[in-house]
Symmetry: C2
């Protein structure tokens, strides 16, 4: 498993440097940033001996480009933020459950860490296959972003690579589009369509699909679609 | 279990503030400092909504006072520092093993976090019953102290209090003194005495002794001592 840490519009250079340091502490090196703040002396000081990660970091304007090659996208979110929109943000995993889920898989996982003030937007969370949340005290659940990263990366550093190669995300998306067309065709409740698709996307996201499984699912829909067409005629 | 976080001569106020914040994130509130740096605006800013922990922190000149009421003393140390002196520093536990060990116990645990540059001294490590080390990459094992604290406190936040009340540390120390006297009396190898005592201290430290067990051990030594005296006369 290759892990990319994607910082989405980080505001404070100190946090960026701190995250680079803790990445290197736990053996990770792929740092990606979307529209980051400027990095100066303080950020470099906080990175300490992980300045190389800052220098080699990939920088993009759009999140979509930053996660293009990821087989799985995992968003991180604070406990408090999760209460607002169940459909969008659950299921959430603890860092240790995330590590267990990724054990034995092969592919690229993008871990998205949002802005220090507002986290990830609804649109950004929508793209995620899973959400990871560090369990915190109710009294003060808002963690510094580099501390949340430390805990998540600590758990992920135990994950061993395996032989199960994950399907590409675009292949999964193609399947979702296929299912959406089939549902439209079958006159599925229009007002429920998008929520259902999001739920299916989440289910498939946490199911760690392989290529072969995605192809089989396409076959299932093709078969059902043929019957729908057949019965309609 | 009550956890006290003891910062031993911290150098950077930013780290002190960060540690206060992550303590509160994980539901801990007892902060103790031994000869800390001055705390100014930056330290308070890093503490964010955990300024109350800084304000209520206990401050001492001597480490011994800071841990007086602790039943167990756990020192934290980086992986690299551990290689020098086996006798002194092992056994080391990962944060998750430490959490498992503390599960179900009742008493006060002091977690010692050392200086950012030199960690805990040999003398300070000698006082510890256990050492906790966050497993890190060999390439860059030196973590920021607040990140190490985040990982350790994350693991300890899962520990449930239990019914097994730990013996007071001074009662354990009294037993060690008792054993030392008995060994001197029995003409144990003088050049091995202190290393052996340290090893026994470590063994008892990680054995989570209760009052009753300490009393029983005293009885064992009294009995042996009587025989030693008896055979010598």
């Amino acid at each position: 498993m290759r892990l990319k840490v994607v910082l989405v519009e980080p505001i404070y250079e100190g946090n960026v440097g701190s995250i680079a340091r803790v990445m290197k502490n736990f053996g990770f090196s792929d740092l990606v940033m979307v529209n980051p703040c400027l990095l100066g002396d303080f950020g470099c000081a906080m990175a300490s001996h992980a300045k190389d990660l800052l220098e080699e970091a990939e920088i993009f304007d759009q999140m979509e480009e930053a996660i293009k090659d990821a087989n799985l996208v995992v968003g991180s979110s604070g406990v408090k933020a999760l209460k607002t929109d169940e459909h969008l943000r659950v299921p959430t995993l603890s860092p240790s459950k995330l590590a267990t889920k990724l054990m034995g898989l092969n592919g690229t996982v993008a871990l998205l860490l949002g802005r220090e003030d507002n986290g990830l937007s609804r649109e950004e969370l929508r793209v995620c296959d899973m959400i990871v949340t560090v369990p915190t005290s109710q009294d003060y659940p808002i963690m510094n972003i580099s501390h949340a990263a430390a805990v998540i990366l600590y758990e992920l550093s135990h994950v061993d690579e395996g032989k199960i190669t994950l399907a590409a995300r675009e292949d999964r998306d193609r399947f979702i589009d296929h299912l959406r067309s089939a549902l439209v065709e079958s006159q599925y409740y229009p007002h429920k369509l998008e929520k259902t698709m999001l739920m299916v996307k989440r289910i498939l996201g946490r199911a760690e699909l392989t290529d072969r499984e995605v192809q089989t699912l396409h076959g299932v829909i093709r078969s059902l679609r043929w019957r729908v067409k057949g019965s309609g005629e």
